[in-house]
Amino acid sequence: MFFVDHFPYWISVFFMMTGLYIVMSQGNLMKKVVGLNIFQISVFLSYILMAKVRGGTAPILKEGLDPSAYSNPLPHVLILTAIVVGVATTAVAYALIVRIQETYGSIEELEIYHMERKQSRRNMARWLYALEHDKRVHQTKGEH
């Protein structure tokens, strides 16, 4: 049975698709990050799954343990690193969300999109307006 034999892999793929779908479909930035985490964790899961050998033990040479069947520890090590990277990514994402909330007052993608549209139209007109009123915009910093 193809499905039953590969059951753990199906779970991993299910989470992968769930995560990607959340990232794409949700408008809330916080939920997007949650989706991203689910996506990453599904990949970690697939790494751990591939290391598992039925009847395998820890890779220790000891009397009584079958040395030919052991679970490979390398994927676990890789995933420890990947988890750290994932945590760092999440931390940066949350820090950015905090700043988005501070500057836009919203973390809904659609609302921010409309605010940006308005801002860029205003910016285009602003330069001419400022010239008319003799404001020295060329010295205001940062705002393009």
Binding site: V23, L36, V43, L61, P67, L96, I100, H138, K141, E143
Partner: protein, 523 residues
């Protein structure tokens, strides 16, 4: 003593900025941080040049971390290709450093300035690590080091849209990097190794495996996201436009090129393995996406109102050239395949120098208030003749006018397409050059020929350190355009070297188990 240092350079070139970053965090003083950062950048250029000489003299350098041999330990492997990329990253960043002094003061808040240099060093270390490493998972770690610092660098400016652009890039970039580790997991299941050349040698037993095919698809999608290859380029214009100018300059010159280098490295090692059965598919995908990126990127650039946005779309179009060249390198015809790799590498180097120059000029203009909006530039280009002049040199280079390095790479690209007799690609290259002329002419027309607004204030020339950086950069553009032998001669060695060093399987000597350990029942 000196020889010992030289033998450690492959590691030092990455370790130096990596150690420097937290140090800068502690030092905290703006000027000292700036000086030490520049010092590290300049030392690294020397390191990269030494590595180039060593590679040219003795061939591939293999550095084993901690003395652990490759399949178990991590290997840094410097061949001609990675030496060129190391030089590209170090040189274009070192040229930028004098420019950064004024630019960071202007575009980044005072109390955050030292943080910018910390992030710059981290990003730089990540990019160099990606270029030097020969370990598939290590590549992922370095990719994430550079990506994470990129997100923070984009959000560091005073423009609030930069934060949103950084967030969008974070989503895309993380998905891309995760796709790459999915691919690594598949390749690891096939081969049981993480050393890229070892993997490549072992993969030759699984040429027609479906797992390999899926893994390659994941690798391509992952790096295409990071390198902004055409249908996946959406994050790039926003990130470049709304990031503070120093960040944009650094990213435009280096980041996407290194991601593309990773794709070439994978192409040489993994795509080539399965090429007999499916090279046609890979070549078709790369060439068609490349041509689409070239034309659509350049066409979008003609419709923008913001200098930074024009240059960002032009970047997408230039990435298209390189992707197309990689596509040609999968060709069964050896001459075409060689020409493809050479053209991609030459264009990568040239584009890094040119985009660095262009964004530096835009930064200097923005500092005096005549950029990035075209409406601000209107008729005021004469206020800063030197800066705008250097900008035009960069623009001519991008169009591919003879006498600039742009011409050299266009020459290699067209030669490659003609060798394959792919006339459609030849026409696309020429048409895109014409489109590049259109969008640069638009800037010149707005800057010089339109009348300035009657009340627009007069501005003066950019500060001297900025001019110095731009002049050095423009000098490289012209000198390498006239006398390109040192660079192209080195790059032309790449295909031969790849052919002479086919990936080899590394076999770990296993200790035979003692009889006792074989186990005689459970206790």
């Amino acid at each position: 003593m000196l020889e010992k240092v030289i033998s450690q350079i492959p590691a030092l070139i990455v370790v130096l900025p990596l150690v420097g970053a937290p140090l800068m965090m502690l030092i905290h003083r703006r000027n000292i941080v700036y000086m030490l950062t520049s010092l590290i950048m300049y030392i690294n250029v020397v390191f990269a040049l030494i590595l180039m000489v060593q590679v040219a003299k003795y061939g591939v350098i293999s550095y084993h971390f901690g003395g652990w041999a490759p399949p178990i330990g991590i290997e840094f492997r410097i061949d001609h290709l990675s030496a060129v990329i190391l030089l590209l990253v170090t040189l274009s960043t070192a040229i930028m450093m004098p420019w950064m002094y004024n630019a960071c003061k202007e575009f980044i808040e005072n109390k955050r300035e030292y943080l910018f240099f910390v992030l710059l060093l981290l990003n730089y270390a990540g990019l160099l690590g990606m270029a030097a490493t020969n370990d598939a998972f290590n590549l992922f770690v370095f990719l994430e080091i550079s990506s994470l610092s990129t997100y923070a660098m984009i959000a560091l400016g005073k423009e609030r849209r930069g934060v949103m652009a950084a967030f969008n890039y974070l989503l895309m970039g993380t998905i891309g990097a995760t796709f790459y580790i999915i691919a690594v997991s598949m390749l690891y299941q096939l081969t049981g190794s993480l050393n890229i050349s070892d993997m490549a040698a072992r993969l030759s037993e699984h040429k027609d495996s479906k797992t390999l095919f899926v893994a390659l698809a994941f690798i391509f999608t992952g790096f295409a996201l990071k390198a902004a290859i055409f249908p996946l380029h959406a994050w790039l214009p926003r990130a470049y436009t709304y990031a503070p100018n120093p960040t944009t300059t650094f990213l435009a010159a280096t980041a996407t090129k290194v991601s593309l280098y990773a794709l070439i490295r994978m192409g040489i090692n993994f795509f080539e393995v399965s090429s007999e059965s499916s090279s046609g598919i890979y070549a078709f995908i790369f060439i068609s996406l490349g041509i689409a990126a070239m034309v659509i990127g350049a066409a979008s650039a003609t419709r923008q109102h913001n200098l930074k946005q024009i240059l960002a779309f032009s970047s997408i179009s230039q990435m298209g050239y390189m992707v197309m060249a990689i596509g040609f390198s999968f060709s069964p015809d050896v001459a075409v395949a060689d020409a493809g790799i050479v053209a991609a590498t030459v264009h990568m180097f040239n584009h890094a120098i040119l985009k660095g120059l262009l964004f530096m000029a835009v930064g200097a203009m923005a500092m005096r208030g005549i950029a990035p909006w075209l409406i601000q530039l209107q008729g005021r280009a004469r206020n800063m003749p030197l800066t705008v002049g250097l900008f035009i040199i960069g623009g001519l280079g991008l169009i591919g006018v003879p006498g600039s390095i742009g011409f050299i790479s266009k020459w290699y690209l067209i030669r490659m397409a003609v060798l394959q007799e792919n006339w459609f690609a030849v026409i696309a290259i020429l048409a895109t050059s014409a489109l590049a002329f259109v969008y640069f002419w638009r800037i010149i027309e707005v800057g010089f020929m339109m009348k300035p607004h009657p009340k627009a204030p007069k501005t003066h020339e950019a500060p001297k350190p900025m001019l110095f950086s731009m002049i050095v950069s423009a000098a490289i553009v012209v000198v390498l355009g006239v006398y390109s032998n040192p660079l192209t001669g080195f790059i032309k060695e790449i295909p031969d070297e790849i052919r002479n060093n086919p990936p080899q399987k590394i076999v770990v000597p296993m200790k035979p188990l003692s009889k006792k350990a074989k186990g005689e029942g459970y206790h």
